[in-house]
Amino acid sequence: MAKRIDVSGLSAYYGSTRAIEDISMTIEPRSVTAFIGPSGCGKSTFLRTLNRMHEVIPGARVEGKVMLDDENLYGANVDPVAVRRSVGMVFQRPNPFPTMSIYDNVVAGLRLAGVKKKSVLDGVVERSLQGANLWNEVKDRLNKPGAGLSGGQQQRLCIARAIAVEPEVLLMDEPCSALDPISTLAIEDLIGELKSQFTIVIVTHNMQQAARVSDRTAFFNLAGVGQPGKLIELDDTQRIFSNPSVQATEDYISGRFG
């Protein structure tokens, strides 16, 4: 598990609009990489190109290369469905399947992959929920609907669902933006634990969060309204927040932006 991501010359489009332009970066395995930047700079779009979720929007397309170790995710014979099985995703708003129980939510990905054996599923449910720090809270009500949990619990359920299929990479698109500070703390602690097993990429609007959870930070920006977003710099988080090499990064981080 946990593979390196190597992106080169990647641009993403919505119809004829170019959302991000010519991005190249390397994301290290077993580490947390945070994407920060102003709204509309394309960090979420870029995140979604890493598991080919970008192209599920009608008219959206991608140019360039994303290597997961030595496999190009945009290669000619690569099935996007298979890509999404090895690159998991957690969304901004908690989105457990409302029609499923907690148990069924966790094993949804495995069931899609054809795993049916009850003993296997039971084991995965316990391991994934424990991995998501949710087991103790829900172990007595696994057959209750997932939508009945609190927002923070729902988000941890979604993380459990994502890690249940044992992906190589875990993408998180502002996973705490709909949560209160306590739940946010729980998720941040969890991210710290998960990075020993997974390559984690997290988009966040909260710079303190980026500073707290990430090892490396990438700053994205756009030249102006209607311009495509670009990667400004990627460096160790400590360096980005203390001594960035680009002026725009320092302006953004210190709040002297715009």
Partner: protein, 327 residues
């Protein structure tokens, strides 16, 4: 008083508040009145039907539930709903078996598969089907569908005859039977089921679909894990709307069905009847007792429809906590 300058408004503040409260009261009473009116109408229909039914049932010399004949105006009045109940339920059942899967398929095609420029006109086309009057369906059924059914019915007789219900006692007669009626009803209820399920499918939150896709679901798996479970209560409601129409459809059935009231489990044999069809055919020539007898059959249809709707509500309510309404 509705439009006033600011100066006016300040001067008349108490008056305006009074107005708006009166408006509240008027609106409250209007809406409550509408609700009460509905109950009154329902009660009036039920009461009227029950009263007239009671008159007829008192004079019936046969068993109302098990009698095949419908001769209330004979010297010895005998009438029963066996044929009608069977015909109504069977034709509606055939219609639902055909229409629901097709309608769900069409709705999914429109909401999740077709490109937008095709989906829009296609949805409009399906809606148009609902605007065709019943009598037109009836005429199409008897002039086109019936003559073209023979190939299918003789095929079914040959290969599915062992099921008994698809066994044809005499081949070559026009297919003015319950099976043809079921097919016709399926076409008639298709647009309403499609329209309602389509709207439900469109309301599936994008985030649930993305959740499925991000787990590595193919498009069909995404539909199965996110769209269909979310739309399930909507599919049931839509089917009930369609079933209501199929149970009560009158003129199209009356046009297609051969008027020989014999009860037969052979669905491909001509004849049979439904409640609504029977009322439409017999009402004009019926004597007072005959009319009351028809009312009694109408009451039964009314009760069947209520039961069906009640059953649907129970099914939907049973899985309420999983409905997605909380999300």
């Amino acid at each position: 008083m509705t439009s006033s300058s600011p100066a006016d408004a300040r001067g008349r503040t108490p008056r305006r508040r009074g107005d708006s409260r009166r408006g509240d009261a008027v609106f409250f009473n209007l809406s409550r009145g509408a609700g009460v009116l509905l109950l009154v109408v329902m009660a009036a229909i039920a009461g009227f039907l029950t009263y007239r039914s009671a008159l007829a049932l008192g004079k019936n010399e046969g068993n109302f539930l098990t009698t095949f004949e419908w001769t209330p105006d004979a010297v010895k009045p005998v009438f029963g709903i066996a044929v009608l109940t069977f015909g109504t339920l069977v034709s509606a059942l055939i219609a639902m078996l055909i229409a629901v899967p097709v309608a769900v398929g069409i709705a999914l095609f429109i909401s999740h598969y077709a490109p937008r420029r095709i989906a829009q006109p296609f949805a409009y086309l399906v809606d148009l089907l609902a605007a065709v009057p019943s009598i037109v369906y009836g005429l199409w059924g008897v002039l086109f569908l019936v003559p073209h059914m023979n190939g299918l019915t003789s095929w079914m007789d040959q290969y599915l005859g062992w099921t008994y219900i698809f066994d044809q006692s005499s081949s070559g007669v026009p297919a003015r039977n319950l099976f043809t009626v079921g097919i016709l009803l399926a076409i008639m209820v298709l647009p309403i089921i499609t329209a309602v399920t389509r709207e439900v499918f469109r309301q599936v939150p994008r985030m649930h679909e993305e959740a499925a896709l991000a787990l590595g679901a193919t498009r069909w798996e995404m539909v199965r894990t996110a769209v269909l479970p979310f739309g399930r209560p909507g599919i049931i409601s839509a089917s009930m709307l369609g079933l209501g129409r199929a149970l009560g459809e009158t003129i199209a059935v009356a046009t297609v069905l051969s008027t020989n009231s014999k009860l037969s489990l052979h669905l491909l044999d001509p004849g049979g009847g439904t409640f609504a069809e029977n009322i439409a055919l017999k009402f004009n020539e019926a004597q007072p007792l005959g009319r009351d007898a028809l009312m009694a059959s109408g009451l039964v249809l009314f009760v069947i429809t209520l039961l069906v709707n009640g059953a649907a509500r129970v099914i939907i309510a049973r899985r309420k906590e999983y409905s997605g309404a909380a999300a």
